[in-house]
Symmetry: C2
Subunit: 644 residues, 2 copies
């Protein structure tokens, strides 16, 4: 049978398994046969022209398949997905097979020209773009309807026939990466280029941002320490600290754009052309004609979607916000009760009890955030967005609004309604520290411990005591397929975003927040690295050129923090003492300063170029070359047309 699967023998010695396909147990023979045939079939026949091989396990199940591809196929795939690689002249260019000789490190026998994660990304792209032709349904499953152009893999996934597709770890590479990343205690940068070539750009960019953000917080932390140590309470020092913070946060966000441009230029993703976005897997609708592609595919009326958003999602979010405020009021009752209790008893126990409400509230906030996250995902998916990007934007907006209110409402209430700076400082500290501890535990340490236990059990089960490196392919696949799936950088960025809020919104009241943030982030780098390497399945690489909507989110937070800090400073007794006669003058001065700071922020954001000059020149050079090439071509046509 195997010979008919592939014109290149799937068992050829250099078959390198890259991606694992797990089908549901008991999938019909005819379905498997049809699917594998489509995968190995020639491009000209509408196949993916990849290599596939069943993984024979002990109990003889044939529901796991390994996918690979010939070297030539991968190079052509690199052209299809639009990979950008470095040329011999150190410029970055879109890879094409015909110009392959001009690329750095290219040789026909160099199978390392494409990194393993690039190869896996290519295979994923090819599998997802394997489209139905004249099939009306998945053979063997009449309920799984197909229409011309529908992605077969996506249909198999939504119908549960395909359980999962994931890329294989490279045990050797991973060991090396782990060693340089977090294997030894050292002061230094993370190996971002190695992370990128192993996990792809999205994840490398997250770690790059985490590292950059941590470094950027250090000046704030350093300046904040003496305020704590010497208990400075002079208004001028507070004003200086807040002003520095506000301008600094603008500068770091602008500079990040530049650093990000330099990194992604060298990774090639800055130049990568946007691919045409296909409908997301969960999108459904009546078959109709897509006005853009002219193809028959499910269409869903935009008005219906708007109705769902405005009549269901928006009210639901508002209700959740109300509920969050309600919980906050309960917290204040508890706080009040604890204070009364302490006043009455004055014991060590009662003074400890003072911290209990804040800690409970911090835990409740974390729990509510997590529950709301599921609700938001469900709702956004029910809104039935056609594109993954639009789905993501709506999800992020929903989650950000709720998390912002949930985390910061109590602080705003304490600061601007209760005017209690001591309580604000205490709540801020409790919330920040509790949420950091909870996060580190829930995100990395707990899964790591569970995973470790699971591996032990599995190994015991397999009667093997081998170390990781010596595992056979079968054992490796069986271990990895049970690992958790990493659902993207969303939660990691969200955590940083909230941390940024804690640090900047009330920075002039609690300068020590930046110190805790720095300490947390140093361990965060290690625990996130552990999570990526040890806990989760390897994720597919996702090329990206920037941190997307998070840049906007951080910038918005820094604008809000200008307002809060100005108001806080205006409320401080020291500043109030400066205007003993007229509160009016005080408020007007604060408002003026606030507007000036905002204006400076916007001017700075406008004046600092998003890309360093060096990158601008390189981009201009590429653009110039392509325009020149076009002109040359036109000249040739013109010369021929004008010849008489």
């Amino acid at each position: 049978m195997k010979e008919t699967w592939s014109f290149l023998d799937a068992l050829e010695p250099n078959f390198r398994p890259l991606v694992v396909i797990e089908l549901a147990k008991g999938t019909k023979k005819e379905t498997i046969e049809w699917f594998t045939k489509r995968i190995v079939d020639k491009k000209a026949n509408g196949g993916a022209q990849l290599l596939i091989k069943p993984l024979v396990t002990e109990n003889g199940d044939e529901n796991i398949y390994l996918v690979g591809a010939s070297h030539l196929r991968l190079l052509l795939g690199a052209e299809t997905v639009g990979l950008v690689k470095e040329c011999n002249d150190n410029s970055m260019r879109s890879f094409t097979y015909s110009s392959r000789k001009t690329f750095k490190d290219f040789a026909d026998d160099n199978h390392n020209f494409l990194t393993m994660s690039e190869c896996q990304y290519i295979i994923k792209h090819e599998l997802e773009n394997l489209r139905a032709r004249d099939e009306k349904m998945i053979p063997g499953y009449p309920q799984a309807k197909l229409y011309p152009g529908k992605s077969i893999v996506r249909r198999l996934l939504t119908n549960g026939i395909l359980v999962q597709i994931f890329p294989l770890h490279d045990r050797e590479e991973l060991k090396k990466l782990r060693h340089t990343w977090y294997g030894r205690v050292k002061i230094g940068y993370q190996p971002l280029d190695e992370i990128r070539s192993y996990f792809g750009e999205t994840i490398a960019l997250y770690f790059g941002f985490l590292e950059y953000f941590t470094f950027a917080l250090i000046p704030m932390a350093v300046i904040g320490i003496p305020y704590y140590v010497f208990a400075w309470e002079d208004y001028d020092k507070y004003v200086m600290f807040a002003t520095f913070n506000l301008l600094w946060s603008t500068v770091i966000l602008e500079v990040w754009k530049r650093i990000c441009a330099v990194m992604t230029y060298h990774w090639g993703t800055l130049l990568m052309k946007r691919q045409f976005e296909e409908p997301r897997p969960g999108f459904h609708g009546a078959l109709g004609i897509n006005p853009v592609t002219g193809r028959e595919e499910p269409v869903y009326s935009s008005i219906k979607r708007q109705l769902r958003i405005y009549l269901v999602s928006v009210p639901f979010v508002c209700l959740c916000l109300y509920f969050s405020l309600y919980v906050m009021m309960i917290y204040f009752d508890l706080e009040h009760w604890a204070l009364d209790y302490h006043e009455e008893n004055k014991s060590t126990f009662s003074s400890l009890m003072l911290y209990v409400p804040s800690i409970i509230y911090a835990v409740v906030i974390e729990i509510m955030n997590r529950i709301y996250r599921y609700a938001a995902e469900f709702l956004t998916s029910w809104e039935n967005h056609r594109l993954e990007s639009s789905y993501q934007n709506h999800l992020i907006l929903k989650v950000l609004v709720f998390n912002f209110l949930n985390c910061f409402a109590s602080l705003f209430y304490i600061a601007f309604v209760l005017f209690d700076m001591k309580l604000l400082r205490q709540s801020l500290a409790t919330l920040l520290i509790t949420s950091q501890i909870l996060n580190q535990f829930a995100e990395s340490l707990l899964p790591y411990w569970l995973q470790k236990r699971h591996v032990k059990k599995m190994k015991k089960h397999m009667h093997s005591l081998k170390t990781d490196a010596d595992l056979s392919l079968v054992e490796q696949v069986n271990l990895e397929k049970e690992m958790g799936t990493y659902f993207g950088t969303f939660d990691d960025y969200l955590e940083l975003f909230l941390q940024f809020g804690y640090v900047s919104l009330f920075s002039c009241v609690y300068p020590l927040a930046a110190v805790f943030a720095v300490l947390n982030n140093v361990t965060e780098i290690y625990s996130d690295a552990l999570k990526m390497c040890r806990v989760y399945k390897r994720p597919f690489a996702e090329p990206t050129a920037n941190i997307g909507v998070w840049q906007l989110a951080f910038e918005t937070m820094s604008v809000i923090s200008v307002v809060t800090n100005c108001v806080l400073i205006g409320m401080s007794p020291q500043v109030n003492a400066l205007f003993p006669d007229s509160k009016m003058d005080l408020v007007l001065t604060v408002a003026l300063v606030e507007h000036l700071l905002l204006a400076i922020k916007f001017v700075m954001a406008f004046v600092i170029p998003d890309k360093p000059r060096e990158i601008q020149i390189k981009l201009a050079k590429l653009e110039f070359e392509s325009l020149e090439a076009l002109k040359q071509q036109q000249m040739k046509v013109a010369a021929e047309s004008l010849k008489e």
Copy 2:
């Protein structure tokens, strides 16, 4: 001699003169011969392959030349400049000669496929891109150095050998356009498509914006009238009016983007690819290697330019701003003096005298604006910007900052230092109306009158009493070459920008401003149309897809006006009366409302898409098609590579 000029006979019966080249009197024979040879020479030999014909005037001077081009040459030129035209299937596509049959109204014998202004734009582009090859200098002028790649026309212009290049009017077309545009009294839209095909997109877009802006002001004007008529002074009505104005100004600016996208899509400029920007004519520097193109060309160190900007231009602008404030203080002295005079005399004359300082000040402001404009142009040109766009941005920034302060500083002073609402209303009215009258007079009516007198004199001189339509080509060229040159839409937009400031910054104090603005703009349309058709030389068409930096300028003005209006309302006695006990509460409420309005503005700007859905779909369709074409091509290569 003529035969050697062109392989196509320049005297062929269908030679249609499109562009006029005026050389300096007494230009050397060898220079003329070399220049005309380069113009008619084949593309393959580095020529422009255009047609040229000397204009023989009565006194036998041969310093004026008419340039045209064959139909085929123009079509190929349309491809080079990247013109976008409508196809038979109503989609807009970049014109290419090979796909010419698919375009609407294309026929080999239809010489109207390209509009005359498009042909003139193509010829201008070709002339400007006529580049030196191995010439070291302009023949006959050793001081006019050339280097490979230098634009010959630009060198001839900077050396004064070439006096001017301008496109010819089409008397027939112009008559028709004048008739539909302003020839009859009618209520209706301007013929924007006709204006565009005669004057090009930049000018049509200005008239489109002027018309749109006038319509957009009508609701403000209508709502403003009862405030004046009934002398409403209730705070709630003011608040309503101001709130409406602020949100309305955001909406109109966002909607304009959408309207602009629809217009420029149908004109083809929305899809036009950006051409590579060559150095501007006045740019100079030592010969060096341009890092982008790799060509030898003048380079000028960016640090030197920065030094010039920050050490000379910025201080100079600050000095001018200071001077403008000084003049303002003199105005207030005058005002004070006039008031005293009136108090003493109480006559009709003295009450009229009250308006004199404002009128004088308005005239002085206009004069200062105009003088400063020359200084700004000189300085910006001395800063030696490489690109026209960068030159324009620096010039616009300089002029905007000064004009803003010069026009509005006195109003800010009256409103927020003197707290004199009556004087504010009076000054605003005087400034607005005086500047409108001055502008209409200085921009259109005066030049029209001068031009008319000049034409009469010319005709007398030529002993002819013919009407415009019967003029011979020689007479037409001689008339047109003496007409003034239209230096672009800068001044026109600036006028609208300042008007927008008068209307929106203090709208809640003087609701009638919008009425005057509407009245002014209705006549402005007519006087600007007159100016374009009668006073100035025909300008070259400039393709553009939007109003560029002016969009940003108008948006900034509308943000500033949120702040000023909130403060004005907060200062009004009616609102003050609402907070009899605590001015603090008043100020806090105002600040809160202001922040809310600003937040709403930003959210609205973010939520309203810049392009209508219909245009978005059309753009997505084009992008999809080009991606599909690329994929098809890759598939073909891949199929061949994989064939074994």
